[in-house]
Symmetry: C2
Subunit: 220 residues, 2 copies
Amino acid sequence: MPGPAPYGPSERTTPTRARHRASYDRELVHAILDEGWVCHLGYIRDGAPVVLPTIYARVGERLYLHGSTGSRPLRETEESGTGLPVCVTVTHVDGVVLARSAFHHSVNYRSVVVHGTARSVLGEEERAAALDALVDQAVPGRSQDARPANAKELAATSVISVDLREVSAKVRSGGPNDEPGDLALPHWSGVLPVSTTRGTPQPAADLAPSVTVPAYLTQG
Amino acid sequence: MPGPAPYGPSERTTPTRARHRASYDRELVHAILDEGWVCHLGYIRDGAPVVLPTIYARVGERLYLHGSTGSRPLRETEESGTGLPVCVTVTHVDGVVLARSAFHHSVNYRSVVVHGTARSVLGEEERAAALDALVDQAVPGRSQDARPANAKELAATSVISVDLREVSAKVRSGGPNDEPGDLALPHWSGVLPVSTTRGTPQPAADLAPSVTVPAYLTQG
């Protein structure tokens, strides 16, 4: 069975460099997005770029972002009804690539860049579902084991959505690409793997000893 | 002895939310920058924001960035002599903060946001030093154990500099801040630590067995 259709490339999702590393494959994009939960959100404020880290969740072909970071500029543009042009980037660093030459040093990574328009999620039902998704993107299963937001908390939380339309992934993997003339040099070459890991859950100081660590924090 | 003077806050480095987490402390900013080596570079292209991951190095009060990602828009602005307005953000995620309520879930993190103007590093001496710094930021000590760039490679590498002037750090640490009324709920609360670790160096397939793993890859 063929996979889903890829994202259509656009002028700005076509890299000028290392084009062979770019992909518009929908399953690859989803996999990279689903492995992360913190993105870098870019927007323009007073004519200058702003890049802030924030949490996100993917639900189908839509990203939800915790909106506190982008809510002020978003509000400003929403008065005009146009939404806020944004770029959302998710990056996983997998390794440092050490070549014999300084020039061929590189990084193994997987990234997704989303160009789009951010809009405030105003509907209460969509907002509540998005908040669950944000919690579950960080810790799968957690949203069902926490007190849901009450009306006051829901009203105090801003959520932003960005549709996945203009999207590309970029992947670099494997060892160094040394010059043939450098292979006999005495310098070590290869890859220093880098990974993000989760440690032992640290209970809150005021947590009752009877509340044990849930399985979703220790598995997977 | 007092520490160095802090960065002066500006309108755009003053957060509208969680101001108590913002800092302009120079030593804190340097420490956060020095712990990383991959940043997210934001700039404006054709009126829209672009955010791309790239490597960086801090040398005193200047950041150097590998310029391949930003070189095209930078070249365009350099014809006008003004440089490219950028935002450079470095983020370390330290943990997922799980509260009894969905609303009080949070992230422990340390980030630095640099607003400034990117310029191409054109001087050969500064460019060569910046390239060494980029390699050493990822793997301290490595630049002295690799073949230096030759004239052709140097000419093919673009390096961008951004001065550290308009800079702020933001830090969230510690456990969840639950509502007093939620403390008796049966949900686990605390922090799930997140860290970035380096694994066992993987030699290149064509590395001679006589070349052993250097100490700078296995220590620290």
